[in-house]
Symmetry: C2
Subunit: 185 residues, 2 copies
């Protein structure tokens, strides 16, 4: 499947980048649906180079500090274009440890269950607020052909996802309070 390959190629279509810059991209908006740290990125870039999907040239900062700036090749663009066009079956639903906890939550007394839910809620609210702040920077919907359109869509998706998760937690809290039990299990 090699999704990381296409994530990197997609970034390099926008502009040539170093491995370090690619890693940074993954820690901004992109992290809302994809992530890789540098220990995965550098080997992948090496592989992409040997496959002819990218080429690099070395830039020097200061006296000796080298950075490899990678550019996507025609072969890379062609491969990426085929990938992005391809219909795809639904992935398996992503794993979610908190949902796993809630699935087994009958093993908890009401107090503990609600504590866990409130804690999780707070974290999602914080994330939501961060996302909303980033979203405020878009004063209008970017043109569908600009590469900021993709950023806009996934950021909107991330906000909706967080709002929905919070709504689910609220339902869980409500049901737990409505329906108290004396002792667990």
């Amino acid at each position: 499947m090699r999704a990381l390959k296409y994530a990197i190629l997609g970034l390099l279509i926008k502009r040539p980048m170093t491995g370090y810059e690619i890693a940074k991209e993954f820690s901004y908006e992109l992290a809302e649906f994809w992530y890789a740290n540098h220990s995965q990125i550098y080997p992948e870039l090496k592989k992409l180079t040997s496959e002819g999907h990218v080429v690099f040239n070395i830039e020097i900062s200061g006296d000796i500090l080298e950075a490899k700036r990678y550019t996507i090749t025609d072969k890379g663009i062609k491969d990426f274009t085929q990938w992005i066009l391809k219909d795809e079956n639904l992935q398996r639903t992503p794993k979610d440890i908190f949902r796993l906890r809630m699935y087994f939550s009958n093993n908890l007394e009401v107090g503990s269950r609600i504590h866990l839910l409130e804690n999780q809620r707070l974290q999602h609210v914080n994330r939501l607020n961060t996302l909303k702040k980033i979203f405020e920077q878009y004063l209008e919907v970017p043109s569908a052909s600009s590469d900021r359109f993709g950023d806009f869509l996934v950021l909107r998706g991330a906000i909706m996802r967080e709002e929905n998760y919070i709504a689910w937690i609220d339902e869980c809290i409500m049901y737990s309070k409505e329906n108290p039990q004396t002792s667990p299990k």
Copy 2:
């Protein structure tokens, strides 16, 4: 972290099960937020046995077909109880290939983009309908102490998640139609 360990222990608290039965559980509701196939489950059960978290006894069907029925030990219950009680920081947002595609969707012409979105939409609608049919079986909210309460919460969560994903896709379709471009990139 060993989430699979706790997923298995949680199931075994409900009742003793064979590896085969555990694998089956992962392909029903549980698959909405966790999954493992038998090639992961059997080794994990072996490990849990050697750690003293579970024990098994062999059942024979017919003449010779052996099945190992695993039972959780006191040590296993204690370990699970500590785990379920523990507060947890948010996981990294799960990877989502379709969102990755949409992030790079400025490389597509409007027609292709909408085709991909419609295709994905259909698949989510199908999944949603399946989930709703399962949900109809709950004529009332199960008691918070019954082990069907967890099933109920995560099933409700899965329905909300699918509805929300479809709403996001609809927004993407709307923005793509509102904001057409002549040629990609």
